[in-house]
């Protein structure tokens, strides 16, 4: 059986970085997520695919939506779910990541979904030999957030191509603009990697202070001028800008940031009619996005949340459903098959 994901042999069997996904891996996840999304439209939203498997959500950083999204995905796949928040646990008493992970594995965990403030912590967990469980990165420091990039790509494919018409297809030729705090954003890094793999053209827009040194080597365009880029965008992704950044002199004031890089209705009108506005949440209304834009029909924020569950189901299904099961070769179409079985 070929490696999954196939882009990096060191991390196959895990999902650590969007850069580890080949084009075929990514399309396969999006197609599987489409099957999962159909399940959500039915009265009984559960699949027996991961019955008897245990997944721990290991969250060292506060997160509400990502943790709940993973939990919903796991439960819909009938997995047993353990939620572990670092606060109030032995981690706060000085236990190391290694000991925490080994303790959980000793309890028979099949997969670890990890959110950690330190870039590279999931990679370390997957490659250091500490544990054997599959590792899914739910966001690490300012490094990667691969399921966010996948759900964003899924949302774009559904909106710009269509749920059925999109099956089997990538995002070739689509123009995606990502605006905001690129420097501190794992969402931006993951999206640049994945969208490039899927054939989209990415433009990053930010004040120069919020772009990393070395960004010129990334597979994307960079612009400081939002108004010039908007008419040439099929999707505009606004990133959250934390007010505290102002104190570290990344920009002079909140108002100046909004004026130059915020999306209001006037700016939104410069976008092509079919173009969508995206946001990974949580939004800072009045900072990077006005309430009018956030609440408009072009904004996909709530769809992104719904799609997140489908994407996480697909990822967990493909990572866990296909391994050490008797019919290991059926992974690609199995989601559809299982869903249909459930219908009977």
């Amino acid at each position: 059986m070929p490696l999954f994901p196939g882009g990096n042999p060191r991390t196959s069997g895990h999902l650590i970085s969007a850069a580890d996904l080949t084009r075929d891996d990514a399309v396969r996840i999006l197609d599987t997520a489409e099957e999962m999304a159909r399940l959500a439209d039915r009265p009984i939203k559960k699949l027996p695919a991961l019955r008897g498997r245990t997944i721990v959500n290991l969250f060292f950083e506060d997160s509400t939506r990502t943790r709940i999204s993973f939990e919903a995905a796991e439960k819909r796949l009938s997995a047993d779910v353990i939620n572990f928040a670092a606060k109030g646990s032995s981690v706060s008493k000085g236990e190391s990541l290694k000991d925490t992970a080994q303790t959980l594995e000793a309890m028979g965990v099949d997969a670890v979904v990890i959110r950690h403030g330190a870039s590279g912590a999931p990679y370390r967990l997957a490659t250091s030999g500490w544990i054997d469980a599959a590792v899914v990165n739910a966001g690490d420091g300012t490094h990667q957030h691969p399921t966010q990039a996948l759900l964003d790509a899924f949302t774009m494919r559904r909106r710009l191509i269509g749920p059925d018409a999109g099956l089997g297809r990538d995002l070739a030729g689509r123009r995606v603009t990502i605006v905001g705090d690129i420097l501190h954003s794992r969402v931006a890094r993951s999206n640049v990697d994945l969208l490039n793999t899927l054939g989209a053209q990415v433009t990053l827009v930010a004040p120069p202070t919020l772009l990393p040194v070395g960004v010129e080597g990334w597979p994307c365009e960079v612009s400081y001028d939002l108004d010039a880029v908007l008419p040439k965008s099929d999707a505009v992704m606004m990133l959250r800008v934390q007010r505290e950044r102002m104190n570290a002199a990344f920009f002079p004031t909140e108002r100046e940031y909004s004026r130059r890089y915020g999306l209001d209705t006037q700016r939104m009108d410069r976008m092509p009619e079919h173009a969508v506005v995206m946001h990974p949440g949580p939004m800072v209304r009045g900072m990077e996005i006005t309430a009018e834009v956030a609440d408009s029909g072009r904004c996909t924020v709530t769809e992104q949340v719904a799609n997140g569950v489908s994407i996480r189901m697909a990822v967990l299904y493909l990572l866990l459903g296909g391994s050490d099961h008797a019919n290991a070769n059926n992974t690609a179409n199995a989601a559809g098959t299982t869903a249909r079985t459930e219908e009977k």
Binding site: L97, G117, G120, R124, T127, H143, P212, V213, G214, W218
Partner: protein, 428 residues
Amino acid sequence: MSKTLIRGAKVLGGEALDVLVDGETVAAVGAGLDADGARVVEAEGQILLPGLVDLHTHLREPGREDSETVLTGTRAAASGGYTAVHAMANTFPVADTAGVVEQVWRLGRESGYCDVQPVGAVTVGLEGKQLAELGAMHDSAASVRVFSDDGKCVDDAVIMRRALEYVKAFDGVIAQHAQEPRLTEGAQMNEGTVSAELGLGGWPAVAEESIIARDVLLAAHVGSRVHICHLSTAGSVEIVRWAKSKGWNVTAEVTPHHLLLTDELVRSYDPVYKVNPPLRTEADVTALREALADGTIDCVATDHAPHPHEDKDCEWGAAAMGMVGLETALSVVQHTMVETGLLDWAGVADRMSFRPAAIGRLAGHGRPVSAGEPANLVLVDPSYRGAVDSARFASRSRNTPYQGRELPGRVTHTFLRGRATVMDGELV
């Protein structure tokens, strides 16, 4: 007193000669010397160098004896061919008083493996605010000449100026850890294309270079000596080269790891590659090698920084910075400088013994191999090839970036004032 005849070694890589050691000194150097009852060391094919001198070692005692002690650290030094090391001041308590430097100095004397020359802190508690009693440390039994807040930068320009001026009274030198603190808040690795991709906080080259530029100007202004610790960027090389061209009293060191490793290794997120200053780029490595070859960089210093296993067996962000280096330094220099043709063995003797001893004003070390000189010597087998195995280290810590990597050369014998501390590759 005992006598040892080292037979047929290439002295500083040159002519094969016999060297007779009598007691603590070299008695004779020549061809066909008579053993005359001396213990004979057959050294054909081996290189004889003056005992190596390290300007930058962390021995961790007092305070962090779980990672290294003066005894284990000096055993590691002897294994690596060193006969003298400068022990950095960032211990607990900090070596900022005559009492602490004398303690470290005495522990070194008791170890018997290697001379330990304590480095004194520039400021009280390494806090960069108030000058430590530099004169008292100089006047103590430890006779401190080198002062450094290593691990922290003396970033206040006035404090740095005063320190440079003050140590002129006893021919001291300020060894600066050049790191502009505001530019390196949250820094985890070299700032560049790799850090951007990995999402790790960047440590920009300019944070080192701006401090070096300021300090060479300050040293020139007050007519004092400044030494730049672990210089790591191509830009820093340019500044030091310019300062030297003006005739200013500036010296600099480079670590073995900055001569070999690059930030590409950080892609593994393995904290064994986490070090301060961070691993830089291939272009920096090339510039550092050339600068060491042409003498812009005066010497190799290990920045031997032992850490216990648990401080490296974790995620990158939580890991300690630093690498052990005493037992691999000479091999890395052979690999990066000698086998590339950049430096001959006489050059290695200069950069790893003569010059560091001169910068530290260290008596009895960094002397030529000739009759009447102290018998601080090291024999190297340059033909040896083998993988680095940290399980064999004499250091208490194992945080080497070279584990399993094949490196050339091996120290077979080290003599400290005529006494063998290493014989046939084993500590005595």
